[in-house]
């Protein structure tokens, strides 16, 4: 399944931040949705701003246009405001992307658990994200931090509890 680019992607002005406030707003919104859907398609959970500039999302080789560093920062900042992105360091060079919110991931995981009649049992995080049983599930290969957050979301709902034993974490579903 190849990624479907929006029409704007082949539209050169899309790669320059527009001065008009209205247009700019629309442009940023389009960039946000493009970046999120690209990450979703590629299953990316962490982004590096330097690398992002070279990735096909922000660099359209066909029309020889790429988004400048500053604009990428603006787009990322916009995503952060929406709650889809979190900076990993103060320099804002690496970030976490959440194209699905922790609650949504939690819901997916919990659905799988209850569909398989595995409530009331204990899992290791590795088992959930890399185990044979979850092969083919959407949360297979989910990065650990994301998994942990979704489990925390489930924990606040009282559907799960995270267990920490010295060298590793596990979770029990209810």
């Amino acid at each position: 399944m190849s990624f479907e680019w929006p029409w704007q992607y082949n539209f050169p002005p899309f790669f320059t931040l527009q001065p008009n406030a209205d247009t700019r707003q629309k442009q940023l919104a389009a960039w946000c949705s493009l970046a999120l859907s690209y990450c979703r398609h590629q299953k990316l959970y962490t982004l590096d701003v330097m690398e992002a500039q070279e990735s096909p999302v922000f660099n359209n080789k066909k029309i020889e246009r790429k988004l400048s560093m500053e604009t990428i920062q603006v787009v990322f900042e916009e995503l952060r405001k929406k709650g889809n992105l979190e900076w990993l360091d103060k320099n804002k060079s690496r970030c976490l992307v959440m194209w699905r919110r922790p609650e949504e991931w939690g819901k997916l995981i919990y659905q799988w658990v209850s569909n398989n009649g595995m409530t009331n049992s204990v899992f290791t995080l590795y088992e959930l994200s890399n185990g044979d049983d979850t092969e083919g599930e959407e949360f297979h290969c989910l990065e650990e931090w994301m998994l942990l957050r979704s489990l925390q979301a489930l924990q606040t709902q009282g559907k799960a509890e995270i267990i920490t034993i010295d060298d590793g974490k596990g979770v029990k579903f209810f």
């Binding site: 590795y126 509890e161 596990g170």
Partner: protein, 207 residues
């Protein structure tokens, strides 16, 4: 808040859960080890092939020996994993069994309490009283129906008398003869006579 949270955690995650988690963690580690070994084996197989192509038979042989050893290791890990998994399943099943026993205990206690409420003497007394009441009711019924039945009988007899009196006159026998079936012709008057009697009977029944 933290204290509250800690308390909640204590209530819901048991020692069993922790034990299971530890076992599972161990299993995960073995799985990872297995993956690594598998990758290694594939690489070495390729390398051995290449060495053979290059004519370095001794080295290839050495490599294969190493590979064989790792194969054995892989088997051992497989066994260990299955051991761990069996242990986990046993633990989980023991937990389920404990829950079943708990359930049975609660049910048993409940049943005991119910039995305390209903003692055998009490039931006997109630049953006796019910029997007495039924007997009493039957007597009343008998008395009532007995007094009525005599009158009823008289009325029925009188009505029967009246009906039989009225039906003595028979309807006329049809005069024209039927050409076919001579036996049927003979039977016909008989049936004609029978009919009024039946009618009378029916009316008696209806009363």
């Amino acid at each position: 808040m933290g204290n509250l949270f800690g308390k909640k955690k204590q209530t819901r995650v048991t020692e069993h859960d922790k034990a299971i988690l530890q076992l599972k963690q161990q299993r995960d580690k073995l799985r990872q080890y297995q993956k690594r070994l598998n990758l290694h084996l594939d690489k070495e197989r390729l390398l051995a092939k290449q060495l053979l192509k290059e004519g370095k038979k001794d080295k290839a042989l050495l490599l294969l020996k190493k590979k064989r050893y790792q194969d054995q290791l892989l088997d051992k890990t497989e066994n260990q994993i299955s051991n761990l998994e069996r242990m986990v399943q046993d633990l989980e099943f023991a937990q389920i069994e404990r829950k079943v026993i708990d359930g049975l205990k609660v049910g048993n206690e409940c049943l005991k309490k119910m039995h305390e409420v209903m003692s055998v003497e009490e039931v006997e007394r109630i049953m006796d009283e019910t029997q007495d009441a039924i007997e009493y009711q039957r007597q009343i019924d008998e008395m009532l129906t007995g007094s009525l039945s005599q009158e009823d009988e008289d009325a029925v007899l009188a009505e029967l008398e009246a009906i039989t009196q009225a039906d003595v006159e028979l309807p006329e026998v049809p005069s024209d003869e039927l050409p076919e079936a001579p036996e049927a012709r003979k039977e016909k008057p008989e049936r004609e006579r029978e009919r009024p009697r039946k009618k009378a009977e029916r009316e008696v029944l209806a009363v």
